[in-house]
């Protein structure tokens, strides 16, 4: 259970890969290790290019399709009649903006609350020894493998009895159950790297425990807070199961639920679907671009520390 120093060094190393080692090594040795025949080189490029095409094609096609007139959605050609009609239709004639607003409110609240709870929890687990700590840490860890199905029914009943179905607050609570345990683990890892002496000096200067945490430790853990924030945002923005089960009625849907209304058994509005999808994907991709390098380190750290 206790984090080993080896696992911590490993993750820090993962997060800052020493780029260019291969190159310097190659330059030092007389015979270059990475020297390839031109045939091997061509093969390497061919394989990577193929993989890149497979990776990029679906999102690219989505983007291309979103600019086609509705009736051409399935034509194989690139855009012949460029149009933004799909975008204007989605923004003006559908509930899309309502869904977007719902999602922003829910995801925003989840992120702020989730980061706060995860930070306090992580700090508590990192600094204090109290009865029930080991079970608590186990609980946090095990929740990573909770299937939707275990929690969804009790949560549904709970929210129903509190009158929170179809309310943003209901989904916020739900998303906290997904995000907090994992983020608390990540935050514990960050707090473990901050020397306890800092807390002690704060205590000597007359701060209470919360003051120490809030004024001294939290600012130092800013990178950790950023990663947990990103993680919570990305998780909540892309969540489907709870959103589909707890939110009904056009005006209460989130983006994940709303998108399903464009393409289902009854309607096939691929034009609107693609335009809406592009609008939803852009903010997520931007946030992701900032966070991706740290996400891996954080994610793998959460389990290596088990």
């Amino acid at each position: 259970m206790t984090p080993t120093s080896t696992s911590r060094t490993r993750t820090t190393r993962t997060s800052t890969p020493p780029t260019g080692t291969a190159r310097t090594n190659a330059a030092r040795t007389p015979r270059k290790r990475n020297e390839r025949s031109s045939l091997a080189s061509a093969g390497l490029h061919a394989a990577l290019a193929l993989a890149a095409v497979v990776a990029v094609f679906p999102p690219l096609w989505l983007l291309v399709t979103s600019f086609k007139p509705r009736n051409d959605a399935f034509s194989t050609s690139l855009v012949t009649h460029f149009t933004v009609a799909n975008y204007t239709h989605v923004l003006a004639d559908t509930e899309f903006l309502t869904w977007f607003k719902n999602s922003v409110i829910i995801v925003g609240l989840t992120t702020v609350l989730g980061v706060f709870i995860a930070a306090t929890t992580g700090y508590a687990v990192s600094r204090f020894r109290f009865p029930g700590m080991r079970p608590l840490m186990w609980l946090l860890l095990i929740t990573q493998m909770f299937p939707v199905a275990v929690l969804i029914v009790p949560l549904y009943n709970l929210l129903a009895s509190l009158g929170l179905l179809n309310q943003p607050a209901g989904l916020v609570i739900t998303y906290l159950t997904i995000a907090v345990p994992f983020c608390a683990w990540m935050m514990k890892g960050y707090f473990d790297t901050i020397p306890v002496e800092i807390d002690e000096s704060g205590r000597v200067d007359g701060l209470n425990p919360f003051g120490t945490f809030w004024r001294l430790v939290l600012p130092l853990a800013r990178p950790g807070l950023a990663v947990t924030g990103f993680y919570t945002f990305v998780t909540a923005w892309a969540e489907v199961a709870y959103a589909s089960a707890f939110m009904t009625g056009e005006e209460n849907l989130t983006l994940a639920g709303g998108l399903q209304t464009f393409v289902n058994q009854y309607t096939n509005d691929w034009g609107s679907m693609t335009a809406a999808a592009v609008i939803i994907a852009v903010p997520a991709a931007l946030v992701f671009a900032f966070a991706q390098r740290h996400l891996v380190a954080g994610l793998t750290a959460g389990t290596t520390k088990g």
Binding site: F74, A245, Q260, A277, V296, L299
Partner: protein, 292 residues
């Protein structure tokens, strides 16, 4: 400082979990749980039935059918994702022109919310008009019923999940590869080790810590992968692609009457299965002398 935290965690995780286990021991369904109809408040009338649900689920063939497919799905997805990720990571770990470009292109699928990607794939898979079948038609090949034939549907959902999962593997393994000291390879080369020997004796052991973590994570995620199956096929055709999680969801939210207790029993069984997998996996690693 600790008390509020324990309280919050207890409320948002402990309560639903305990309640889920409790529900699985009752005969709760849509008709007998506490609910409000108009202004009337109806109290709960379900009763405790002990292990009846578990007995019913385990003696029913549906559970074992779904479990079988879930295992195929998980093993298939994780092994393909890992192998492709490993191969690409090794390719990207060389000096190579356009490395940054390839890297960015290859992690793109990760940057897009999964449900967007899944909808996009549904469009590509469209039997009559989808681009995949149009391309096949260009090559004179008959249209493939990607999502409407049980076997093709299974292959299709696996393909999409692999597509979604490779970027994470790739980035994690690339990080692992870059933490292996280059001197080891040089020394091995001096001793006359071939490319395959270097891979087997340096790369594989050097990656063990990272790969054991990502394999376990990815197993858990794939086992519980709800959006891919739910949005791509809704578990169909028939229930061909329904994994345990989507089936449990169907029991409590799509079927009528909603069967809360049986769904909860499925949920608990899934959790137990996953815990066993995780424990056995860690044991096995420890036996190999892994600190983790």
């Amino acid at each position: 400082m600790v008390a509020p935290v324990v309280l919050v965690i207890g409320v948002i995780i402990g309560y639903p979990l305990v309640r889920g286990v409790f529900l699985s021991l009752t005969d709760a369904n849509e008709a007998n749980v506490e609910r409000n109809i108009g202004v009337n408040h109806l109290p709960a009338t379900y009763k405790f039935t002990g292990l009846d649900n578990y007995q019913a689920v385990l003696s029913d063939g549906v559970f074992w059918d779904r479990l079988g497919w879930t295992v195929v799905w998980t093993v298939g997805c994780v092994s393909l994702t890992f192998l492709i990720g490993l191969a690409l990571a090794n390719m990207l770990n060389r000096t190579l022109r356009g490395r940054t470009f390839y890297r960015l292109a290859l992690i793109l699928p990760w940057a897009i919310p999964a449900f967007i990607s899944v909808f996009t794939w549904r469009m590509l898979y469209n039997e009559k008009n989808g681009i995949l079948n149009k391309l096949l038609a260009g090559g004179g090949i008959d249209a493939v019923p990607w999502l409407n034939d049980p076997t093709w549907a299974k292959l299709s959902v696996i393909a999409v999940n692999v597509w979604l999962g490779v970027p994470f593997m790739l980035v994690a393994l690339l990080g692992g590869l870059q933490s292996i000291p280059g001197e080891l390879y040089e020394a091995a080369e001096m001793d006359g080790a071939g490319a395959w020997q270097r891979f087997r004796n340096i790369t594989v052991p050097g990656l063990r810590a990272v790969s054991s973590t990502v394999i376990l994570l990815s197993t858990i995620w794939t086992f519980n992968m709800f959006p891919v199956i739910f949005l791509l096929t809704r578990g169909g055709p028939g229930d061909a692609t329904e994994i345990l999680v989507t089936y449990a969801y169907r029991l409590s939210f799509l079927d009528s009457p909603r069967n809360f207790s049986e769904s909860a029993a499925w949920g608990v069984l899934i959790l137990v299965l996953l815990s066993v997998v995780a424990v056995v996996y860690r044991r096995a690693l420890r036996k190999q002398g892994e600190v983790w």
